[in-house]
């Protein structure tokens, strides 16, 4: 019997929670799906994956009551890993669907400029500007992005890594127990799996 606490993965209509679950199992990390607030109890950390739109994600979280539960538990110190839309909903507002979001970080989410092909689809070089302690050497690497929108934080101090697509944008934001990537950790090959492991393994960056 595995006595480690499981990582909770928020499972909602438009998310790709099953892919995140497979990646964590591949890494040997216990994990389970979270569909309602009570299921957050007993989790070592929570992952909010996302492939859909910010507005749809926020509506889905509101329907299950997970928006308030996440807000309370993460403010109490529960480690949070956001992926793609899971990064964007951390900010106050998204241009996509004109959606009000969680607002844990000041700032907004904007559409990529018209000078580049949208959506951005593919592997982009991520450069660490402020690697969190415990991330190893914080080596720059390519990760897989699929996004039409990017975060515009009010305070650049939350940006831990950047990538460039029609200009620099936040690839990773990190503040205390909140860590989120614009790229897909679960689909970024060995580099993504290694980062996921460093974040969520016992004694990792988020101290789970």
């Amino acid at each position: 019997m595995d006595e480690r606490l499981p990582v909770g993965i928020v499972d909602y209509a438009a998310g790709n929670s099953a892919s995140v679950l497979r990646a964590l199992r591949h890494l040997g990390l216990p994990a389970r799906m979270v569909t309602r607030p009570a299921e957050l109890v007993g989790c070592s950390a929570v992952v909010l994956p996302g492939v859909g739109a910010a507005g749809a994600t926020m509506r889905s979280l509101a329907e299950s009551g997970l928006d308030e539960a996440l807000d309370r538990r993460v403010r109490e110190g529960l480690a949070y890993v956001g992926i793609c839309v899971g990064l964007q909903v951390l900010f106050e507002h998204s241009e996509e669907d004109d959606a009000d979001c969680l607002g844990w970080l000041p700032g907004s989410v904007r559409r990529l400029p018209a000078s580049v092909r949208v959506p951005q689809i593919g592997w982009n070089l991520v450069t660490w500007t402020r690697p969190p302690p415990g991330l190893g050497d914080g080596a720059d690497a390519h990760y897989y992005f699929v996004n039409s929108y990017v975060a515009a934080p009010a305070h650049p101090s939350c940006v831990a890594a950047e990538a460039d697509y029609g200009g620099p944008f936040p690839a990773v934001v990190h503040e205390d127990n909140v860590f989120a990537t614009q790229f897909h950790l679960e689909k970024s090959g060995p580099a993504g799996l290694a980062l996921l492991s460093r974040l969520l393994a016992p004694g990792g960056v988020l101290g789970c």
């Binding site: 739109a53 959506p119 689809i121 593919g122 390519h142 460039d164 689909k187 090959g189 799996l193």
Partner: protein, 264 residues
């Protein structure tokens, strides 16, 4: 900087990886799950599976193969063939795919593209186009016509017009698949790929005809494709020698200024 992508394409028939020439004469290659896992470890950027007979046989896609691949492959993969509803799309995504490719069904029922984009986002919906060179006419001014059902049925639709329409409907990415070049190892149809890449604001993937690194380099440098679908050069029994992904990327770097994800 965003890199160009090498996308390995698997044509799956009855759970087996096969290779065709101009959409016919499929020969057996092996187990698609083994090949996918091998290419993942070799550094492939992305994989696309077409359940090539699902659409013409009007049956649902082979979800078991999709799930097995998702257990072992941690780069994005797209699944196409036999997807006829938003429920079919949801099943494929739940099974572990990132994107859904719609081809013949997008022509038959364009509202499916829009419904998929609304439900899962445009980035999930790839419209794949089978294009064939024809004499230009008033109905087909670009000189490229759209075919469906494994290149068996011509539609009378202009490829360039359909590309624009597919994006308006909600496609987040387009695959331009040349019927004339499929499996010939003679190079992509650069002209149609380039005219579509210039006309649409979404990423465009070149497909059909790649036989060597020069062909892939041309797709990136001359036709401005964001990604290139390759298959024969990786595993076709009809080719004497195959490339590994690191060999192909090294060769591409020699051929021109092409940004690529470094090999493992």
């Amino acid at each position: 900087m965003l890199t160009r992508r090498l996308v390995a394409c698997f044509d799956v028939m009855a759970g087996r990886l096969t290779k065709a020439r101009q959409f016919e004469d499929n020969v057996d290659v092996g187990d698609p799950v083994d090949f996918a896992e091998r290419l993942y470890h070799d550094g492939i950027d992305e994989i696309v599976f077409y359940d090539i007979t699902a659409s013409s046989e009007r049956r649902r896609i082979d979800l078991e193969t999709v799930e097995k691949v998702a257990e072992k492959v941690f780069v994005p993969f797209t699944v196409g063939g036999g997807i006829r509803s938003v429920d079919d799309m949801r099943a494929v995504l739940k099974a572990g795919a990132e994107k859904i490719s719609i081809d013949s069904m997008a022509v038959r029922d364009p509202s499916l593209v829009t419904a998929g984009a609304r439900a899962f986002g445009s980035q999930c919906v790839v419209v794949s186009m089978q294009v064939k060179a024809v004499p230009p006419t008033r109905a087909i001014p670009s000189g490229y016509e759209i075919a469906i059902d494994g290149a068996r049925v011509m539609t009378g639709m202009d490829a360039l017009e359909w590309a624009g329409r597919a994006v308006e409907l909600g496609a987040g990415e387009l695959v331009v698949n040349s019927i004339d070049r499929d499996g010939t190892h003679a190079g992509y149809d650069l002209a149609v790929t380039k005219s579509i890449a210039e006309a649409v604001p979404v990423p465009v993937i070149a497909s059909g005809g790649a036989g060597n690194a020069e062909h892939v380099a041309e797709a990136f440098l001359d036709a401005d494709a964001q990604a290139a679908i390759i298959s024969s050069m990786l595993y076709s029994p009809r080719m004497a020698e195959h490339y590994s992904v690191p060999e192909l990327k090294a060769e591409l770097r020699r051929l021109g200024p092409i940004e690529l994800r470094p090999s493992p």
